[in-house]
Structures are given as structure tokens and as C-alpha cells.
Symmetry: C2
Subunit: 200 residues, 2 copies
Amino acid sequence: MASLSPSLDELVDALKRLPGLGPRSASRIAEHLLSEDRARATKLASALDRALKRVKHCELCNTLTDEPMCAICADETRDRSKICVVESPADQRVIEETMAYRGLYFVLMGLISPIKGVGAEDLHLGKLLQRVQKDETIREVLIATPYTPEGDATAHFLAKAIASVASQVKVTRLARGIPAGVELEYTDANTIAGAIFGRR
Amino acid sequence: MASLSPSLDELVDALKRLPGLGPRSASRIAEHLLSEDRARATKLASALDRALKRVKHCELCNTLTDEPMCAICADETRDRSKICVVESPADQRVIEETMAYRGLYFVLMGLISPIKGVGAEDLHLGKLLQRVQKDETIREVLIATPYTPEGDATAHFLAKAIASVASQVKVTRLARGIPAGVELEYTDANTIAGAIFGRR
């Protein structure tokens, strides 16, 4: 059928390319925004505009921030001898919420993935390696990538690269183990195996 | 933790209120737009702006369209004695794609749902009933709402309301039955029961 609304089609097309959305959810969202919830649509459009203008990558740690340098990197009370390497600002946020870490960060904005064609050069790893090499206050890099094939590949690559440019820096990774509050019986074998190897 | 980017938070907040999205998918989409895919973000922002300016409800059938009256309502070759009532423009699109229906439409933009607090008055049903009452060319209203509790409630309400304002108009509903290309063994009992009652 000829389209009843090219502008609606164009919006659906832009929405369906977002991660996690397909054509059906995109058209549901577009119809909702344009019919029931125009106020929300206007708010989304202005939030998107503003974010595009204001949000940039922190010049030191690469996280998303409104300032040239993010509040964590700029905070002189943080422990500057440690860098925690995470996949995304969301992962950085959950680590901050634990209050268990007071060092600095480096945000990869992705993981090494041969399948998706993401290599070390796409993750600004050069920036991290230079920082580790030049800044002599750094004593430890804690790699907090997930225990997935891509997280493992990234951790492996990073550990080797850091050892070759700054052999005095200790490279650690988050412990594998049993999550809190979960019955053993519902935990997968891989996780239990990791917890057995890492037992103390 | 203090937010590193209030503009990012605001975008996540606007996204997570969209139907089908939660806080996690919203923050994944926002981070993706602002770091990997700024070109797409700009395209989405302009598509949204344009759609908000151009898309409106068809003055006759209520579907989303760029014109005051949609191309289907304006098409003089369509069978004007039939109105098919659908939940959404997306449902209207799939019916058009079958090429099995050449009449007009009425798009509810929702279904009656006591749980969500959506009543008959929210669905512009008055507009449909007036049209059925006044336009004497109309011979049939085909209710194409889904076989769900909300679709059934809407169909039931509509059938009664149409009978009371225009008793000469035939009210029909899409047949219940077995979907094409699906094994009986994988079909739920409700669908099979419907197909048995509707057997011919």
C-alpha cells in the first residue's frame, strides 16, 4: 500500500535501528509518541538535542560526561594509583554504587569482538596504554570486563599489552564466583567451576 | 554517585518511559547514540521533530497521516459501504497488505481496557458512531480487534453501540481459527476451540 504518512515511516525507520529494537517495537513506539503522548515526544526530542550538544567523552577516562573532564577524574580525593577498566558508563555506574572502589576509571565503550569487527584500535586502548606507561603513580589496573567470550578476549589482550608497556603495574580482574543471594542450584556450571577454581 | 552527565540522565529518563523499554535498554540506547552513532542520533532527532510537525490524525478515520485526510479515505475507488475497525495504524497496514479488503477504516488508537483505565470515550468511538449513524452508504462494520480480553471487550461494546444507533448496519468480526502454516500440535487450545465453533 502507498504510505499514509512518510514522516511516520521515517521515524519508525530511525527507531528500528536502535540496539534492541525491531520493526514492530519501533512502530509501536512511534505510534504511541505521535498519538497518545506528544508531550513526551517533544521532551524526548529536546533531551536528544541537548544530549547531542552537551555530552562528550571525558578527555582522561573516555566516559560520557557534560564537562571536558568527568567529575571522577577531576576528584582529587580519589586514589589515582588505580584504574578500573569497564565496558560502558552503565558498568561504571554500578561499580560506583558499590562504594567498594575509590580509584579512577577507563571506559572502553565496547569490547573486542572479532564477530562484530571491533578490534583493539576501535576501543581507544592506545589512550589507556599511553596513560599507564606515562603516569608513574599508577600501580594497578583492575579489569572489570564481564566473563563472556568478548569480555575475556578484551581482558586477555589488555593484560598482555599492559605487561609489555609497564611491567611494574599489577593487572587484576574482578573475582569470578557465586553471585550474592542466589541459590547454588540455580547457578550455571561455568559460574560454579569459576568459584571452585577461585576458592579461598 | 553524583551524575557524570545530567544531559545523558535526562535522555535515559525520556527513553525509559517509551512502551517496551526499561531503564537498562534505555541506557544502552542512549550510550550507543551518544558514543558510537551520533549520525543516527541526529537523524532520529530530526525524524522526531519532523514527525511531530507533520503527522496528524486523519479527520475521517483517525489513522496517522501527513495529510488532513489519509490516502485511503480520500481514495474514491474504495468500497465506501464498509468500515474496518482496527486498534492501530500498524494493524491497518497488515490488513492492507493482504489485499483482501477494499473498504474504509476506523483506527481506534487503543482498545477498551478497564485495567489501564481506557474507556470508550478515550477511543473517539463517538466519532465512529456518528459516522455510522449519519452516512447511509455504510452497510457493514468489520471489527478487526484481536482475540484478547481487551479486543473482545472493545468488539462487544462496539457491536452493541452500533446496533443501537444504526440497526440496519451489519456488524462482523474477523474469523477465529487456525493460522496458516502452523501445525495443530503447536496451536493453543483456545484457538482450536474457536476454530471448532467457527467450523464450516
